[in-house]
């Protein structure tokens, strides 16, 4: 079996859902938010690692973070949104993959074709999660703005 990966369309293509179904968009968002969360985790580990350098090093790290101004809060807001989406969509995927929920049973295909795995139940699940995540993201934004004293 060929192991040549030269002919694969690659990472950018796998993250590009243009023209595809909403579940494919959901897949791309899940990957993207996962990468953001891993990045945040790395930064967070680095940040707490500074505690080992004593109070001075910790204060310097905090000062460096606060010097970013509103960008710090925007970053946290993006991380919060990523966590909400990745978690929410992750629950849908577990239901899909481990329990077969929203997939439908095997059917006899009748034209015009409409795969049940991408059917109404799946769409409702995807959009419910999207709406809940959006609401939580707005709430997180308001919470962060409140912390900044803007509202």
């Amino acid at each position: 079996m060929k192991r040549d990966s030269r002919f694969r369309s690659g990472l950018l293509s796998s993250l590009n859902p243009l023209g595809y179904n909403v579940e494919r968009w959901s897949y791309a968002l899940h990957r993207a938010t996962g990468i953001i969360l891993v990045g945040y985790l790395m930064a967070h580990i680095f940040e707490t690692f500074q505690l080992g350098g004593g109070a001075g090093a910790w204060a310097n790290t905090m000062n460096a973070l606060h010097s970013l101004g509103p960008l710090e809060m925007v970053g946290l807001w993006i991380v919060a949104g990523s966590a909400f989406y990745h978690g929410g969509n992750g629950i849908r995927l577990i239901l899909n993959e481990a329990f077969g929920k929203f997939m439908g049973k095997p059917i006899l295909p009748v034209y015009p074709y409409s795969p049940t795995s991408l059917g109404r139940n799946q769409k409702v699940a995807v959009w419910t999660i999207t709406l809940v995540v959006l609401a939580l993201w707005v709430w997180a934004g308001a919470y962060l703005l409140e912390g900044l004293g803007v509202i």
């Binding site: 079996m1 694969r8 494919r24």
Partner: protein, 268 residues
């Protein structure tokens, strides 16, 4: 719309454009045939049946993997049609891709009935009998024409050449779900790898592009559930406690009369 422009990505990535006269009912395959007959006889593309049965004319049309013979130009809603070879496969010439690695994946999951009794299998004196409700569990996945569109659309196959791919896993499940098959344990073990069912992340692109509604995404999830069940049984030390599929001969001996298969009025 009087004319359409085909923007074809050919060997080496060069793009050439051809203008074809539009007529009602024109498919992308018709347009390509007209180009090869009247404008450029060196254009390479593969086709055979022209009616969505053979699965030979898969190509990327307007960014999506589709069968050229089943794609009406009018349905694309554009006068300039972009045509590329299928993704995730090596290009042999122009729009012709090497589908052998794809077939290798298919072959690797043992897509055939496995019977423990070789004598019965090779010199059977009675037919395998399957009930309608049993057939319904796998018939949908049996309609696969192996066109490779699902494999070209799969974002996981875009990254992992060793991934079985939606087509192969769907075919593996088709035989796992078949009550006549006795090789389900071997097949489940083949799928229970980091390049098997666990690599799928349910993007659903395979089912979205499938021209026959085989719904590979559903089959992959059902296969994953079978793998999970086997893992749980193994952990509890109950491997083998799952009832083995009934031999067809036993069903016949029971005298169960299978009703004629009901196609639900979809086919005659």
């Amino acid at each position: 719309m009087d004319k359409i422009t085909l923007r074809i990505t050919r060997s080496g990535g060069r793009k050439t454009t051809f203008v074809v006269r539009y007529r009602k009912g024109l498919t992308v395959l018709d347009a390509l045939t007209e180009v090869r007959e009247k404008q450029d006889s060196t254009l390479g593309y593969r086709h055979s049946c022209r009616m969505g049965i053979c699965g030979s004319c898969g190509m990327t049309i307007e960014g999506l993997p589709r069968l050229a013979c089943q794609t009406q130009v009018s349905s694309l809603d554009t006068e300039t049609i972009s045509i590329e070879p299928l993704h995730n496969m090596e290009v042999i010439k122009d729009l012709v891709t090497d589908i052998l690695p794809f077939f290798d994946h298919h072959r690797s999951v043992k897509p055939y009935l496995i019977r423990n009794d070789v004598k019965e299998r090779d010199h059977s004196e009675m037919e395998y009998r399957v009930l309608t409700k049993e057939v319904e569990k796998f018939l949908q996945f049996d309609y696969c024409i192996m066109c490779g569109l699902c494999y070209a659309a799969c974002p996981t196959a875009a990254l992992d050449p060793l991934y079985n791919g939606p087509q192969a896993i769907a075919q593996a499940y088709r035989y796992i779900a078949d009550p006549r098959d006795e090789g389900w344990e071997k097949r489940i073990d083949l799928l229970d790898t980091s390049h098997g069912v666990w690599r799928c992340h349910m993007a659903g692109a395979c089912s979205f592009v499938c021209p026959k509604d085989v719904d590979p995404a559903k089959a992959v999830q059902l296969a994953r559930i079978e793998v999970l069940k086997k893992r749980i049984l193994r952990k509890r030390g109950k491997e083998g406690s799952k009832p083995v599929p009934r031999p067809a001969t036993a069903v016949a001996k029971e005298g169960v009369k299978a009703p004629p298969f009901d196609f639900g009025g979809a086919r005659n």
